[in-house]
Symmetry: C2
Subunit: 332 residues, 2 copies
């Protein structure tokens, strides 16, 4: 089988992560990068074609991708790029607005089906691996509930969404938000209590905020603590720091999480399954998972399949470079 030709659409943290990940996947090759701003990308990239994302017919003709990995954001980029591109080329994306996934699936399924293309949506580690583990936990331990916790390590997990939310507040110059899991709540789940939690029972939020000159810290803090959805439901710690502190102590994108389901089997014996992941770089983690899904997308397309798929619709063997024989001999 010839190498899978991959176009990376979007050159942010995830896009750069995909480009790095492709080097560890010898069955794939980076065919090119497409961006809204090719000139900016060309400043840091050499030896790789960089084209305008809007000129889809042109870059598809020139770069001949088997699959495009869409690395844009879920709020503004993917709702537009996803349906437009999956009508022309197989795609993989990490659309992560959980409540809108059903609607996004439907849109992508229609567009991809009409074009005979495969669109793998909403992958990464959550949604993605965690979706898979929630589904398996529930299927293998009926009656249990699968819970997701984030930020179990000492420093917590950096939430890009919550950091962005902080930066929209007037008076905030820069900010980072770390999510922390509530250890006692994890233990309740592990004991098989299958508790009813509010969001605030499971996580706390720790903010590092750099103020604009002259901003009122009390007012900013009040705005943070009362922000609906993002902070209001949580115990929130706010630290005002200098830009230097933020740059030095809050660099990088660490994140981690846990899916846990506990219940009983047949005659009342305790049973517990847990999936835990820890990432030095959250966007690189997402990128690695997307690359494996790009392999799956191409295989599905080569089998004549089309439409939208999630990780729940794809056999694990499709993510692997190992042959059927190797999987049976070495992985089973």
């Amino acid at each position: 089988m010839s190498q899978i030709r991959v176009v990376v659409a979007g050159y942010g943290n995830v896009g750069r992560g995909v480009i790095a990940a492709l080097k560890n996947n010898p069955d794939m090759i980076l065919a090119g990068i497409v961006s809204r701003n090719p000139d900016r990308v060309k400043k840091t990239v050499s030896g790789i074609p960089v084209m305008q994302i809007a000129d889809a017919d042109q870059w598809i003709a020139e770069l001949r991708p088997d699959v495009a990995i869409l690395c844009g954001g879920s709020k503004d980029d993917l709702p537009v790029q996803g349906p437009a591109l999956c009508a022309k080329v197989c795609t993989v994306d990490s659309f992560d607005n959980h409540s809108r996934i059903p609607e996004y699936f439907k849109t992508m399924d229609s567009a991809a089906n009409a074009a005979g293309k495969v669109a793998v949506i909403s992958t990464g580690w959550d949604p993605g691996i965690f979706s898979l583990e929630r589904t398996l936990g529930n299927a293998f331990l009926p009656g249990s509930r699968a819970y997701g916790f984030y930020g179990l390590g000492e420093s917590g997990g950096l939430s890009m969404g919550h950091s962005d939310a902080l930066r929209t507040i007037p008076g905030v110059k820069d900010a980072r938000q770390y999510t922390h899991a509530v250890t006692g709540s994890i233990e309740k789940v592990r004991r098989g209590e299958n508790p009813d939690f509010t969001a605030g029972d499971m996580h706390t939020r720790e903010c590092f905020v750099v103020l604009e000159d002259g901003a009122d810290p009390e007012k900013v803090a009040e705005t943070i603590r009362t922000m609906p959805g993002y902070f209001a439901p949580y115990k929130t710690e706010i630290n005002f720091v200098s830009q230097e502190y933020l740059n030095e102590k809050c660099a990088g994108f660490p994140h981690d999480g846990l899916v846990v389901a506990a219940g009983v089997t047949g005659s009342g014996n305790p049973a517990r399954v847990e999936y835990r992941c820890q990432w030095g770089s959250n966007p690189e983690a997402t990128a690695n998972v997307m690359v494996a899904h790009a392999r799956a997308a191409v295989r599905l397309a080569r089998e004549g399949r089309s439409g939208a798929f999630t990780i729940l619709d794809i056999p694990a063997s499709y993510f692997s470079t190992a042959s059927k024989e190797e999987l049976l001999a070495k992985f089973m």
Copy 2:
């Protein structure tokens, strides 16, 4: 969709676990039990048809199963029952002789394909869930190796195979073997060292042995410590105990395990994934996983698929009772 009719083939610990598990899966119904010794089964079961496993044509005609869950052992039962039965009805089994899985797959694939039936082989938690997690770990973290550890809890994990091996030794009246993971080796893997281990580096073995009257403990101990494959490669602790001690302190079938893979993503950031399971009853755990695979087997058959499948060949959604819409809305 009408309820899935399940026949349980074999009434040992796993078979009883399947019967208990079916009660937690309302989309399935126990159509009957088939056994080599129906009279023995009838002594403890009432209100459920019990038939002779050898009379396959008869019980298939009378019980009309959509799927038979084969609960026999991998050494003597499944190599014979598997190919014979999957030529007549869809099957699920837990064939767990890892080194012979490729050969068993081939045999089952031929027999099932020729009959237009689906045979899901080698499922449970290992092989089974662990096979899946090894494959995903390797696919999502290329270059890492996925390691399996067993018996992480204080009491370790009860190994039926090693307990059986002890009981074959002349002078041994009864015995249980608990496997213990070597904690320091887990930590090496977690640190991303991807070490080369011998079997003895990863696990130790703890034996509780009841001697026959007049047996020589030194001789029995020497036989245990030098038993190839089972004990020779491991640090092995041997405790001679009374039958009463064994009955009281070594009851039940607890087991647990860990799959762990650690490596780096793109620019050298640490990355680690772990799957951990803990079971009060090992055979009930296997049974629960098999029941979810029975659902998948029937779905594959209803789609017109045939042949042998492992957990690596089946999308996660096939294991779940949730609809496509529910999966997208609640599990993604």
